[in-house]
Subunit: 200 residues, 2 copies
């Protein structure tokens, strides 16, 4: 049985924090793991900003529900779901992903979650496990699945390497340069061809 493990942000939807920053005009939220490699520290920096502005989870979800999936993403997802099984593997939080999953027709997603306080404010992050994307691929292979994995970032490389096959999608220059052996595509129809070839 064939399963596709897909990264979310940059592959099906825009980078959530960048889009959120654009929607709200809060420029400090553009800070990413490139500026602060410690993810836990970065998330606490972001949560402090949100708390300082009095933004509750419901306010954040309201903004996220105005973010649209990438052009053609829903059609691409429906097409591959009609041929294979698909699981989205993401480092985002289920509470943020939910308004986007609704627009994508509720695909299955494995990600992290948030701890929300009694006022509805973001209190802490709950990571499902270390290296969660790669371990999910390994678990699927352990129950007899053939896995194709794709993403665009450093945190996708371990899952792509662990999978039976995979590719990069709209990856930045440095990642392409450092991984010349991985197939790369920038549009969904080429993406479907690469997947079809891999599962042939």
């Amino acid at each position: 049985m064939n399963v596709i493990c897909l990264d979310l942000e940059g592959v099906l939807v825009p980078e959530i924090w960048i889009a959120f920053s654009n929607e709200t005009g809060i420029a400090e939220l553009k800070r990413t793991t490139r500026d602060e490699p410690d993810y836990n520290k970065l998330m606490h920096y972001r949560m402090d900003i949100l708390r300082g502005r009095g933004l509750r989870l419901s306010d954040i979800q309201d903004v996220i529900s105005r973010i649209r999936p990438l052009d053609g993403a829903r059609e691409f997802l429906d097409e591959i779901r009609s041929r294979y099984q698909v699981i989205i593997l993401s480092d985002t939080f289920s509470e943020f992903a939910s308004p986007l999953m609704r627009q994508l027709g509720w695909p299955t997603i494995f990600c992290n979650s948030l701890k929300i306080d009694s006022c509805g404010m973001l209190e802490d992050i709950r990571m499902r496990q270390e290296n969660g994307k790669m371990k999910a691929v390994e678990a699927l292979q352990g129950i007899g699945m053939k896995v194709f994995a794709a993403g665009d970032s450093y945190n996708d490389l371990a899952m792509i390497r662990k999978a039976d096959s995979g590719c990069l999608f709209r990856a930045p220059e440095n990642i392409l340069r450092e991984n010349p052996d991985l197939p790369h595509c920038t549009d969904y129809s080429a993406f479907i061809s690469i997947i079809g070839e891999a599962f042939k």
Copy 2:
């Protein structure tokens, strides 16, 4: 992160072989694992009948596409997909499930597959692994998921027992009698309450 593992036939869609037998009028296809406990033998018996009638996979899929999900199943599935992750664990074959998955909005399903010959006839079955439902639950728990599992048959009991919580749905008398400790429900709104309680 919370995942619901659901049996397919009897929970979201009718028993496929019974419905197929009704649609086609081929009474011999009503034979189930109750009459022939050896699943491999039963499937070869079924494939011989289909071959004898000249029925190709495409003919079978055409009949299956006329089978409708159970009343309220799609709404139930959309409701639980908006709150939790859902994976359908079934002993059916992806080639049979596909027309039903389309009607259910392409939920993720882990099941078995068929070997099709060059004429499009069913040649053999390919089981993903022994005890696949239970092992899928175990694999999900191994990557940090809290699992709720539900089904209606003997082959669901191991996955329900392995899961963190679970229930029976529209199970026959003998299964209910032998498993008095498992919650049981017969409608989707009670089902949603049991799941909500389990993940609280």
